[in-house]
Structure formats: structure tokens, C-alpha cells
Symmetry: C2
Subunit: 343 residues, 2 copies
DNA sequence: GCGCGCTATGTTTGCGCTAACATCGAGGCC
DNA sequence: GGCCTCGATGTTAGCGCAAACATAGCGCGC
């Protein structure tokens, strides 16, 4: 049947129907359906023809009930609105599909403990074999969650390495590369716009920024805090623009870097002539900023792949890999960084 | 049990176990579990306590098998990388959760007919009651798809209104507003950067742009084609910058507008002094572009809500709403538009 | 005081599938 | 030629749940 509006047709076609039409037993239909060997070619073809004719569609609930596994992975997250999350989820979905697993999205309604609790409660009733949690794990802890038994977990973007397997971008090294790049260019020190306080990713980028400065014996300027949005970057940028000694800025993500760019521009500070800026994420747009942004590239696809890999290993009860997987980052040099003005 | 690394524990807890511990029948456990009335308070409490103690988790496969419905909605899409898609999916997930439905993501591996075919084949084996298709429907048609019987469909962003219910942003009116705004500002005509040829959204924005110009008796400049990316916008912008008579541009999305902005800037054409630009989508970043972008706001949350609503109506066999739901758009005026230079 | 109706709970059944076991027939080996 | 093997297919059973039906106990009206 070609795609067209279909109406509910009472009872769905079952194996028994196919078996009857093909003149075989239901078990043989099952064998064909699951690709088991030991079905002679002529029989197989008959069964396939009967399936085709009736529009047979295996009932995955029955299969799951019998087999005791759902072949589905749940993904719990706060939002798809950030580039990192949506990219990671997309990669997870792709790799999971390749392994024959479906993805169920479990959004947290509100980013509070109650919201997280609600998501985990729903999870308990969901048909999943494992979960990938994309969120700050301290919220997860704080909510004192009950994880349904038999459900495996992998966490992204947190520091729960001692209790759950964790997959994450190498935040610290990325930040170090960003700061070192600015220092190498000749800047005396580097100012910093960080992300929200509850973000481990932000925290680690900030730690690495501070450590890199300290190790180089440079002064550590006060931190400006944003919330990942371009608007918050703009507000931080306003403060930075009023700071004559500021010649280099490391923003914890590209969007905030965009806001800083705008603030500096509006206050007549040229980038990179007067001030250099480095972002984090390498979102596609960042190469079209004014000027194109030097930033730290994150490999979200790899993060997604490693998540699925780690989770499936647990589900299949294979020996665990390392507690924490760090996906490397790399600095992408574009036009927003240059040596400091030589006044 | 507090969240912690759990190991597979053989067989999961079933209703029978709970019933045994609580000293009641499995049916009573079922009644408590599904919130049916007719269970006396003391019994209910006993059952609840037993559930708690054993960590009972209803087996949704068994429930689905018994009830013949999965309470799950599939979402088929090409990518989560575009703002519109990820926002829409997020809204869908939220509203679906509110209605007690989970959502399963079915990514199309490669944006070809084979890819779409693969996704629909997987769909056939998936435990879903309905599908929301977020893609250009002509690809859907071309692939000559088999839609599993009993699966309901709602389509986003296409013109299949005659065969499937469709929910979409009012592309045409948004584009009209954008063009009219520029005309009202005094521009002689408006140039246009469109999206990929296979996109209905792009096609309709372009049609509305052309119609609005024609109705106002203005010349229709040649169309520049992009692929939604900022880079493609930049390339179009390069051409536009070389066009001295161009004083107003309508880009089919914000990212391409960003690219145009960069190209014009690099060629010394001031925005909005020399050239005005309007985008489409109102992504959060657009308010931090240089200058902040005038753009057409899309209400993705509403699109998601209407999708879920429409699909559930079909699943529940309620009378269909209108074939096509159009979610209104509105122009957001920021700093990238102004009257043309008065030379 | 007897039966009627009503409520709380129990029992039976089967949803569709597949693992495990059963059967059946063809061919090989002595 | 009888028996054994092995490959192809059939039969049985049960996964966990909830609808439908069964039962039991209680209060109430007359």
C-alpha cells in the first residue's frame, strides 16, 4: 500500500494470520521474521509473500514481553535547545539505530529537582533497557532518585565517574588550549565569561582557565558569569568593554562570545585589533560571526557514539570500559584572535 | 534504593510478587497500579507498600500487549541540527509527556529516498501508535512508502494537506510581513536569499516574497539560493554586496541572514545604513547579531503542541480537525532595517 | 428474616510472540 | 533393510498484564 491516510482496521495482522495464509506454523513465520536459519528457501519465500500480502507488522510489545528486553534506550535531558544537546542526541539516535535500538526522549519538564524526579518516575514506566542522562549530575543526586532496577545508566557532562560511567568532551584541555593560544599571541592575561553556576562543563572550563593562567604566572581577572545565551554574553561584554586593560577574552561558549562581540563592537573596541576572543563549541554559525570566531571544537558525534557504546556494553553485561571517557577537543583558529595592540 | 550503579538482577519484579507480599490477588495490584476505583483504602495502602518494598515497575510491554496500544509517538526527521526541528521536537516531547505519551526518535540516516525508506521500515517494527513526520513530504511520496496500518500520521512543514493532516508555521504570511515591512520603509524592492530547492518552507517563503512584490508593482530581482547555513548566506551576500542597487534583503532564515551580514560588512556596506536585512525564525542568537536582526518569529512550541493534539485526535478516533493548521508568525523589529539611503 | 443489589476482591483468559522440545521424513551407513 | 542422524517444521507453554466474568460478604427494605 502506498502511503495514504489509513484508518484503524480493528485487529492488527498477527503471525497466526500470516501462518494460515502461507500454510505453515506460526513458529516458521517467527523464524523468517527474526532471520533464524533452518528455513528452506521456498518456504521462506512463501512466508515473505504472505507477510507482504497481509501487511504484517511484528508486534514489538509481544516480542519485548517474551524476550524481556525492549531494545530501546531512554535519553533524559533538560533541553534540546542547546547545540551540544541536540547534536549529541542526534548522534545517539543514529548510533543506537545502527545497533537496532530505538531512542525514547524523556524531557525534564522543569529544571528543578521535582522535574528531574518526575522524569525518572516516568522512566520507571517506560520500556527502556538503559538510560543516557544528559545533565548536571548534582541535580540528579540532590533529587535522591530511584533508578529502576535493571536499567543501566551512562551520564554525559558531569563528574559522576565514580558511580556511573561518564562520557564527556575534554572540557579542561579545550579551555587550556584556548587560554594558551591567547597567551602565546602575547596577551598579558585572559578574561573569562563563564556559564551558569550549576554547570559542571562551565565549572571545569573555568578551572582550566584559572589553572592555565596561574601556571603561566599571570594575574587572574575577575570572572563574568553568563547563562550560555548570547544576551548574557552581551551583558558580560558590556562590562569587559569598560575595562581598558582587557585585551583577550575566553567565553565558555560560542553564543556568549557572540554577545561579547556585539558589546565590544558597540563600544568601538575592534576585534581582534583591540581585543581577541575565543569561544567554545564551534557551532556552525561561529564561522560567520563578525569576525569569524576562533573557538574550541567539540566532537558531539563522538560523544554520542561513546555513550551508546558504553551503555550497550552494560546492557549486554560486557566488562565495563573506563569509568570516564574523554573525547578530545581541538582549537579552531579563525579571525577573532590576534596579538594585543602594541601601545 | 538511591541512585547507584545497579546490576541486572535476574528476573524483574512482577505483579504476582507484589500480590503475594501484599496478600492480595494480582488483579488488585493491577487495579492499584492503574488507579482504578473500587479498592478499599487499607488494601490500597498495603499494595503500595509492597510495591515500594520490592521496587515494582510495571512491565510496559505486557501492558501494551494487553491493551493493544503503546502510548508512544514516533517522530521521523532528517536532523535535529536546525533550530526549528529541535525546538519542535522538544515541544512535541513536552506535550506528549503531558498526555502520557512517550516519544521515539526515528532519525533518517541519509537524506535520500533510501534513507527515508529505511526509517519507515524501522518504524514498522517500532512500538508506536502514530507518527509525526518532520520533513519535506515529496521525499516521502517519492519513496513510495508503506505506512504500517493502524499508524496515524501528522506531517509538519509540507503541503500534503490533502492526504495527511498538516501543521505548519504560516510561512507565507511571515514572508509577506517581512517584505511589506521593507517596502513600507521605502525600499524600491527587496532581494531574496532562499533555502534549498527541495524545501517547501523555502518555496513558500519565496512565493510569498514574489507575490508581495508583484502586488506592490515592484521589480522582482533574481533569487539567490542557499542551503540554510550561514556559509551559504555568506556566499549569497557576496553577490548581493556587488549589486549596488540592492538596499533590502529578505533571507529565508536567520543563519543565512548572518552570513549576508558578514559579507556586506566585509565589503563595507553598512547595515542598516546602506542595506536592510530581515531574517526568518527568530532564533535566540539573532538578537545579538551585528546589528540585532529584524526577523520573523516562529512559534515552534505551538507547532509541536498542535502536532500532538492532531495526532492524538486521530489515535483516539475523534473527528479530525482541519486538514491544515497554520500557526501565525509575527515580525520582530530590531536594528537591521531602516529606510534606504537617501542618495 | 429473606432476598436483592451493590461493593470489594478473586479467577480465568488470552493478547502475540519465541524458546524449548517434539515430530517427521529423507538419506547414509552398516 | 533397519537404524541412526540430521535438518525442516510443528506443538506447547508462558512472558506480565488487565478485561471480563465470578464470587463473596454486607446492608437494606419489606
Amino acid at each position: 500500500m502506498t502511503a495514504g491516510r489509513t484508518r484503524r482496521t480493528g485487529r492488527a495482522v498477527s503471525m497466526a494470520d500470516v501462518a494460515r495464509l502461507a500454510g505453515v506454523s506460526a513458529q516458521t513465520v517467527s523464524r523468517v521474521s527474526t532471520g533464524h536459519p533452518g528455513v528452506v528457501e521456498s518456504t521462506r519465500r512463501q512466508v515473505l509473500a504472505a507477510m507482504q500480502e497481509l501487511g504484517y507488522r511484528p508486534n514489538s510489545a509481544a516480542r519485548a514481553l517474551k524476550l524481556g528486553e525492549f531494545r530501546t534506550i531512554g535519553v533524559i535531558l533538560f533541553t534540546l535547545a542547546t547545540t551540544g544537546n541536540s547534536r549529541t542526541v542526534e548522534a545517539i539516535a543514529g548510533y543506537a539505530a545502527k545497533e537496532g535500538y530505538a531512542i525514547t526522549l524523556i524531557p525534564v519538564a522543569v529544571p528543578t529537582q521535582d522535574g528531574v524526579l518526575g522524569a525518572f518516575t516516568r522512566l520507571g514506566e517506560l520500556a527502556v533497557d538503559g538510560v543516557i542522562v544528559i545533565m548536571e549530575v548534582h541535580l540528579l543526586d540532590a533529587a535522591n532518585l530511584t533508578l529502576p532496577p535493571g536499567v543501566q545508566v551512562v551520564v554525559v557532562d558531569s563528574d559522576a565517574g565514580d558511580r556511573y560511567p561518564v562520557v564527556d568532551t575534554d572540557q579542561a584541555d579545550g579551555a587550556r588550549q584556548a587560554v594558551q593560544h591567547l597567551l602565546d599571541l602575547g596577551h598579558e592575561t585572559v578574561w573569562h565569561v563563564t556559564g551558569p553556576a550549576e554547570s559542571f562543563a562551565a565549572e571545569r572550563r573555568t578551572q582550566a582557565w584559572r589553572r592555565t593562567l596561574l601556571e603561566a604566572g599571570r594575574p587572574v581577572p575577575p570572572v563574568h558569569r553568563g547563562d550560555w545565551s548570547a544576551d548574557s554574553g552581551y551583558r558580560a561584554g558590556l562590562a569587559l568593554a569598560a575595562e581598558p586593560r582587557c585585551t583577550a577574552v575566553f567565553a565558555a561558549n560560542d553564543q556568549m562570545a557572540l554577545g561579547v562581540l556585539r558589546a565590544l563592537h558597540e563600544h568601538g573596541r575592534a576585534v581582534p585589533g583591540d581585543v581577541s576572543i575565543v569561544g567554545f563549541d564551534d557551532i556552525p554559525d561561529s564561522s560567520s560571526y563578525l569576525p569569524p570566531l576562533t573557538t574550541v571544537h567539540q566532537d558531539f558525534a563522538e560523544v554520542g557514539r561513546r555513550c551508546v557504546q558504553g551503555l550497550l556494553r552494560q546492557i549486554r553485561d560486557e566488562p565495563d570500559g573506563p569509568g570516564t571517557v574523554l573525547v578530545p577537543t581541538r582549537l579552531v583558529r579563525r579571525a577573532s584572535t590576534a596579538p594585543p595592540p602594541s601601545n
